[in-house]
Symmetry: C2
Subunit: 245 residues, 2 copies
């Protein structure tokens, strides 16, 4: 379980996938498959592109600077996660990467870094790196869908143009809320909002409290780091309203 000892290598490619489809490899991909993993022509691996499900593909040309695969059969259809977004304020680099990895494994449809009043590291966030982490996590967790990682935006701006049919589960120690409250609401689209390690500002808290579609949820009596809170909140949501039950 919890494998990434899958016998077959899984590779994300940008190319369309389908029966008999040829898939050219980039230089980096060829280096990984033939240099690092030492695959020979005839080896079968799994391909995903985030749109066409998972396909078995055979290596037909293994070069130093490129290569070619041909798709055989589809092994999984595209499996979309539930319609839940994760919004979080960027923290230290490794922990931000961790949040993206975990949100992908736990089945978030979209990952949104948001800048709050007390976000410290927003200038240093590298969205391209976060997107690469989402791809890698999808390769490893057996998923066929890669969550979208959006550009950093200010939380206040995001909330100003919010679609009120998408509920917000927000995790803030200063507001009491029960996870059990989630099951008393109907399904539909949701977003989870994890506060920054410095807390929300009074203004932000006021803005959130005033939203009729925002539901505060408590994550227990101990102080959680933002990365722990992100995993815990997604777990509670998936268990109550998502595809875990």
């Amino acid at each position: 379980m919890f494998a990434f000892m899958a016998s077959k290598v899984r590779l994300f490619v940008e190319h369309p996938l389908g029966g008999g489809q040829s898939v050219p490899l980039t230089r980096d991909q060829a280096h990984y498959l033939f240099g690092v993993m030492r695959m020979a022509e005839g080896t079968v691996l799994s391909l995903i592109n985030g749109r066409d499900g998972e396909w078995d593909a055979t290596v037909v040309d293994a070069g130093k600077k490129g290569g070619l695969l041909v798709c055989d059969a589809q092994t999984k259809p595209l499996q979309m996660p539930p319609d839940v977004w994760l919004m979080f304020a960027p923290i230290r680099k490794e922990r931000t990467a961790f949040i993206v990895e975990k949100a992908t494994e736990l089945g978030a449809a979209r990952i949104m870094p948001v800048q709050t009043a007390y976000t410290n590291n927003a200038d240093r966030i590298r969205i391209d790196k976060l997107r690469a982490h989402a791809l890698e996590a999808t390769e490893q967790c057996g998923g066929t869908y890669v969550p979208e990682v959006t550009d950093l935006e200010k939380l206040s701006k995001v909330l100003t143009s919010w679609d009120p049919t998408r509920k917000i589960m927000f995790c803030d120690e200063t507001l009491l809320g029960e996870a059990s409250a989630l099951t008393q609401t109907d399904g539909g689209p949701w977003a989870i909002l994890i506060g920054p390690e410095g807390g929300f500002s009074d203004k932000e808290r006021g803005q959130l409290r005033a939203l009729p579609y925002a539901h505060p949820v408590s994550l227990g009596p101990r102080i959680l780091r933002a990365d722990t809170a992100a995993v815990a909140a997604l777990t509670l949501w998936q268990n109550a309203l998502g595809d875990w039950s």
Copy 2:
């Protein structure tokens, strides 16, 4: 929220804590407080020792190689987590450290690395480092109790001498189980068991299946890494049976 921007430094010490109690510092502690944090005599910080709750203490002697604090008032009583243990098979170093940090934040009473048939890194596990991670996480999460980190033992041996009044929640993709099943059992002592990334062996799975007090729980349709599974499982347990509700 999710702070460790707490205004006051929290420090774990081995010494007893109580009103008027003097607390001598080790060389490392003195270096941290007076060298790194640049505290002067008269500064107030928080002390915990895992037994006597949390105390305000004042620096009365700040030296290069040692120092002295005096306890003022208790700021928190000892708060025990629920009686839940986390058993997991060691994985890569950073991820094992991460599991210990998260289990501490999420309120596990005991953390037990177990060697399974397919555990790869058991020889390289450093229990002393894991204990240090549990201490640091307690300092940061505002807790007053430090979970015990036990020495590595073989899972088969642990299960052979198991107290049958302690239920086991075990997370294995090959067994279907619902998290909702947790709420249908009574409380009492529990242990959570996270499988290794290579999966349980058939023999281990057979042994687990045969235990009347073992409850399989599913963690959703995607493959989770062991560290993600540990956080998710503790979250589900705390929410259903622990101190989150």
